[in-house]
């Protein structure tokens, strides 16, 4: 692992990697060893900062899936079924959604999954083991990417194999351009981008508010709706824009521990997908708000932190991704306040407050616009 992952149109390499999984098992059996597969531990305790890519990736801790235990044996059998299935899809040039694969596994007898979480997680494991992407495996998520509005032009390869240019203000309605699940160069490319920054917004309500108030035009912003925890394609889309067009990324979410994690997954890489952080994360992303300090500074309406909120804030204090002084201070402040707030709480001061006052003030503070 570690090498830069690029989307391959040629699947020989994928097949080779998939076969190597089968060979590992086969060779173990032939040597009369108990077969096992090794992969990094995929948890908070095993992510570390990668200096080279400026993102958080899995560390050195490994776990073994061994046929010594019954659970391990099941995992190996399922892995064999999945790799065989992927190889078959590559051969017949088809793809399937993760959900479809889950339903197909119904026919896998002993190897069938008991929930889609199991099959999704195993597909991720396989990415980790082979350093391939699930797109390489012809597996795609059923969720699509989120919406985009702003002054950029995208060229998309449509299913009719025709290139189509889409301007993300003029050619789209108020709901914006919808990010496809595949955002690799063979699918989309950025023709032009005349914006100063990207604002990635957690909630649909706030996205629509900014659209209605024409914030994209008045502040030369590209608005991206994250739809909660952003899909891989959304994160990849943001990263590509940031990388290829050199556009700064700002993340605008609610003020609660779950929203901080949304930021972390955009900026640092998510724990679940730490094996491809360098591919999905945008290390230069900045957190715009709403911060716990904003609650105080803007005197926002609040809710009390729940037990779960407090627990996850405390967990974030030990999360290696939140160890800089900004986050430490903000998280500690929020624990002290015992309160949380939503993006849309800014409406307390009127519908235009967010676009007329809050955002300009914050953007100026961050040096994105001049005061």
């Amino acid at each position: 692992m570690g090498g830069r992952i690029v989307m391959r149109k040629d699947y020989t390499d994928v097949v080779k990697k998939i076969d190597s999984v089968a060979s590992k098992i086969y060779d173990d059996l032939e040597k009369t060893e108990i077969p096992y597969i090794q992969l990094p531990t995929r948890s908070k305790s095993n992510i570390e900062f990668n200096e080279k890519f400026n993102v958080w990736k899995y560390g050195k801790n490994k776990i073994q899936r061994s046929a010594k235990s019954l659970d391990g044996a099941y995992m190996l059998l399922r892995t064999m079924y999945i790799v065989d299935f992927i190889k078959e899809m590559i051969k017949i040039k088809k793809s399937s959604t993760l959900r479809e694969m889950y339903y197909i596994s119904e026919g896998w007898d002993l190897a069938k999954f008991h929930s889609q979480n199991e099959s999704n997680s195993l597909a991720e494991d396989l990415e980790v083991i082979t350093s391939c992407m699930r797109e390489d495996f012809k597996l795609r998520p059923e969720e699509d990417g989120a919406r985009v509005i702003g002054n950029i032009t995208i060229e998309e390869m449509t299913r009719n194999n025709r290139k189509k240019k889409i301007h993300c203000q003029d050619d789209v309605g108020d709901s914006g351009y919808s990010i496809p699940y595949n955002v690799e160069p063979e699918k989309i490319s950025f023709k032009s981008a005349d914006v100063d920054f990207i604002i990635a917004i957690e909630t649909g309500g706030m996205f629509d508010r900014l659209v209605e108030n024409r914030f994209d035009s008045s502040y030369r912003a590209l608005l991206v709706h994250l739809k909660g925890q952003p899909a891989r394609s959304t994160r990849r889309f943001i990263r590509r824009l940031n990388e290829e067009k050199n556009i700064p990324v700002l993340v605008f979410t609610d003020c609660d521990p779950w929203s901080f994690r949304i930021f972390a997954s955009v900026a640092y890489g998510a724990i679940k997908t730490a094996h491809i952080s360098e591919y999905l994360a945008t290390p230069s992303s900045q957190y715009l708000g709403v911060t716990p300090s904003d609650i105080e500074n803007y005197d926002l309406p609040t809710d009390k932190l729940t037990k779960e909120d407090i627990k996850s804030l405390k967990s974030e204090l030990t999360d290696p991704r939140f160890q800089d002084s900004f986050w430490k201070n903000e998280i500690k402040l929020q624990l002290k306040l015992g309160k949380k707030s939503e993006q849309q709480a800014l409406a307390k001061y009127g519908l235009d407050y967010v676009t007329d006052t809050y955002l300009p003030e914050k953007l100026a503070e961050m040096g994105m616009i001049k005061k």
């Binding site: 059996l29 009369t32 046929a67 010594k68 019954l70 044996a73 059998l77």
Partner: protein, 647 residues
Amino acid sequence: MSKITAHDLAKKQKEISVAEFFERNKHILGFGNPTRALITSVKEGVDNSLDVCEEVNILPDIYVEIKNHEDGECKVIVEDNGPGIIKKQIKHIFGRLLYGSRFHAIRQSRGQQGIGISAVVLYGQLTTGKHAKVISKIQEDRPATAIELAIDTNKNRAEVISRNIVHWEKPSGTRVEINIMADYKRGRRFVYEYLQNTSVVNPHAQITFKEPDGTEHFFERTSETLPRKSIEIKPHPYGVELGTLIKMAKHTKSRKLSAFLKNEFTSMGDRTAKAACEKANLERDLNPKEMTREQFLALHKAFKKVKIMAPPTDCLSPIGETLIKRSLKYETKEISPEFIITASRPPSTYSGSPFQVEVGLVYGGNLPKDATVKVMRFANRVPLLYQQGGCATTTAISSIDWRRYGLDQKSGKGMPSGPAIFLIHVSSTLIPFTSESKEAIADVSEIENEIKLALRICARKVQHHINKKVKRKKTREKFELITKILPEIAKKSSKMLDRPVPSLDAVITKIMDVVWIEDLIEYEKVSGKTTEKPVQTTLLKGSSEQHDGGAITKSKIMVVNYKRTSQKFNLYAIIPEDAVVGTVNPKPAKIKSNYIKWNLDAIASADKVDINFELAGLEEGDFDENDIYIENINPSYVIGADKWEGE
């Protein structure tokens, strides 16, 4: 008012006739109500028959019939194949209260359980006015005697109404017919239960029960072996009462106190007799007939201060675990229980009386899961049907926390509920009953303790059984799955790579990483003349020639080494003490009365060894599960056997 004098009183003072005594006390004698009267009547008859058959080594074949007349009157008929009663004794046995041979003897017998069959005759006479009829035959080539008799209640003597010589098909036996007032409708269930339970603890007896409507119930004989004969013993000094001691001294032939003690008591030798005399401050050559009350009192007190050996225990005749198990199995076959476990304690004593406790536990099958467990209580092979609440057996069961053993119990105390039947048998020369109706064993701490200990052994066996089953099941599941999953993994990978499917035996061995022991038991019917008699390598005590017929129990133990390295260890198989060991393969290192030991040669990884042995002298099903132990190997390596803890 005139003064009442002693003379006036004397006019009112007279002997109370037995009949009056009986009439007033019939509730404590088991005739309290028409239901109890019925069951007591049957019981007195059947107990007598069983005792007398055993005494002369005849396998009892007992016939009980109840003819239901109108107005609550029944005719109870009990017939046996015993030795019969000689003509002149018939009237005494059936026509005099408190007459009998077993009352004075110190040995285990059923007779002490009840007041006697004559009480039934009297009850019948008092309630119906009808005479009892007895037929008895003592020799095959002689005719039978039929006597009709009543009891002269003033004299406590039989009054023979008629005596005839009759022809009777039976080689020998006794039949008694008594009319009594009884509630058959209510009593029926108890009579049935009593006879069924009797059959459980008397597997050598065959009992037929015919109901008034002609329905016949047959309680089969499941053992051809008569119980060990109990030997009569002399009283033990710890148990003797002062009055008895004085009476014994009056009648002894010994002229010196020391001789009296040695001759008339059990467990008394020179040393203990001397010690007792010294403690009582009495001369050893004192004439016992001339001793004063004070001297007796001193002696009686001295007994308690001297350490005297426990009485011999061959006066007891326990049923034995094999027979208890067999009987329970037979009686519960419709329930198809999951397992039957038995335990027995060595004989013990209380107040100079020997006793012994045996227990059995039937678990699972169709037994109700939410009802209180059923308890079958027995004293000297006689079922106890009433007063369960006040019985020492109940106290003992209630004191154990059964929740660990798959039963429900509120806060771990009291009677548990769940799919189980408990059997508790106490045998003793003198069962301490709570009252004269003799339906509950008194809370004598020694007896209660022994019952608890026996139940604990049982509970441990249950736990052991459950643990073994769970562990084995888990490993078996893993084994079955691994042997399915692994070939699938191999198949898929070889298909993808287009390579031949590799052999998996060695890998499966490594994954299992255990020594797997499994056993199988089969039975082979043997007719008396089979040519394939087992080669007897040893003959064990107590199991003698009469084992023609029956079944040969064939036990097979398979040992598979799923460890990576070869394994060498010793293996023990527990066998019932009353079994005869036949062919054993491979050659055992040792055969003892209760186990067979093998020193197994090193078993190579993935290799298998079969052990076979045969047992004779058991019925089919007596031995249905091997109890296997291992030695000189880490017990955690082994599935299907436990660590040998020594004998």
